[in-house]
Symmetry: C2
Subunit: 250 residues, 2 copies
């Protein structure tokens, strides 16, 4: 009953009850009550706990399953879907060495800021010209050394209320979208190019002097949610002198 | 009977008959008697035509199916498998424009030469140090303009007898491996990097002057056959100023 009050106090009144239940379950996942691949309590237990009907719980769960945020296993229950890593599926290897185990990468949150969409960005994300965006900057490290710099751009109106503290705890953009907004990232398209690193980004990647004259790998990612919504434009610069990005064909 | 004589005259005598039938069928595919997705005659017809038992034909066909060179459709027959394009699955687009239909690319055969494997190449292809290699160079064009230069390296002992005239007709490396050697390419790993174009390759890509100072996208591909054999090391340089290589996540 306490949780039910809490939920209703924090959700706009006009929303149907099952939508409130959806949001409440997402918040509990975001707060770590259930982790990836954890089983949720039964419909019956959830209904009793939140003082709502089992039918309302079933409807909320079904929508969360349809959106890919939960998954069902026949006869076993309903589980929390894993979150895609902000890094993506490519691996960093030494150039020409295909059988190498890549380093684990760590992600450091740098800053969140507001800006307007560039023309290409607005078209790709199907937004109006100059639409307001959040920009989340992250630095990737392998063995402690910087390897890549990310700028993730997210539509500010769609993801209203985004806060820096959500990222400071080490939670990535995709975990945030999943846990705070019920948006599950499942797919991306990536454009690869060779470019010279913008000067203002060089120091973040630890580059100076002659290294400034070296090309870097640009990865431009357009990210899609499980329901086909275009949710992110991400510009990555990867150091390329001693590193190559491995992709497998499919 | 004439074809049967032809076959036996051109195949080493010590090979079992079904292996000779396999090679004969591959040669007929290479010569264009059956194209991609064409149905082969029935086992009975092939046996009668080549004056061998139906069991021998069946064994040859089964191996060709197992190697991926032919495929079966229940109740419909046995068909010629399509060949993977030398280009691969990535698309060339304008940078930042994800919804563009890419140009059709054409491939021009430049030359075939012999050389020794580099150390990385030998390790990746599981060959001995300095193993002899064929190098096949190809130039890719979009709307008539050069867009990428390929150097495909193939183990010379494995693909003994490779001839330049096979490529001059416009047949790519993967079609040649499939039709002449019964090796079907199905999978690759690709390493992406940003590099400066080697000077000696610049003129082939139509670059001169200030354009020589621009980085290009390096794609290093390790190619696998349907039975997991490592058959090719391919170094590609893609012009990157107005082009990006698109990959979809899987």
């Amino acid at each position: 009953m306490i949780q039910s009050h809490y939920m209703i106090a924090n959700a706009p009144r006009r929303q149907p009850l099952y939508v409130q239940i959806k949001q409440f379950l997402l918040r509990r996942i975001a707060e770590g009550e259930w982790l990836e691949h954890d089983a949720l309590p039964s419909e019956w237990d959830l209904a009793a706990e939140m003082s709502v009907s089992q039918g309302t719980v079933r409807k909320a769960l079904s929508e969360l399953v349809a959106d890919g945020l939960l998954y069902r296993q026949q006869g076993k229950g309903t589980f929390v879907s894993p979150v895609l890593s902000d890094w993506g599926s490519a691996l960093l290897q030494s150039p020409g060495v295909f059988d190498e185990m890549p380093d684990r990468l760590s992600c450091e949150f740098l800053a969140i800021s507001r800006m307007n969409a560039s023309d290409d960005m607005a078209v790709a994300l199907q937004l109006r010209r100059h639409a307001p965006m959040f920009r989340v900057r992250q630095l990737w490290r392998g063995q402690g050394r910087p390897v890549a710099l990310d700028e993730a751009y997210l539509p500010a109106e769609r993801f209203d209320g985004m806060e820096a503290r959500w990222f400071r705890s080490g939670t990535g953009v995709y975990a945030t979208l999943q846990q705070r907004f019920g948006v599950r990232v499942v797919e991306s398209r990536e454009q690869y190019r060779a470019v010279m690193l913008p000067r203002e980004d060089a120091s973040l990647l630890g580059l100076s002097g002659a290294a400034l004259e070296e090309p870097v790998l640009s990865v431009l990612r357009l990210t899609f949610s499980s329901v086909g919504e275009r949710v992110e434009w991400r510009q990555r610069y990867c150091l390329s002198r001693d590193l190559a990005l491995l992709q497998k064909s499919c």
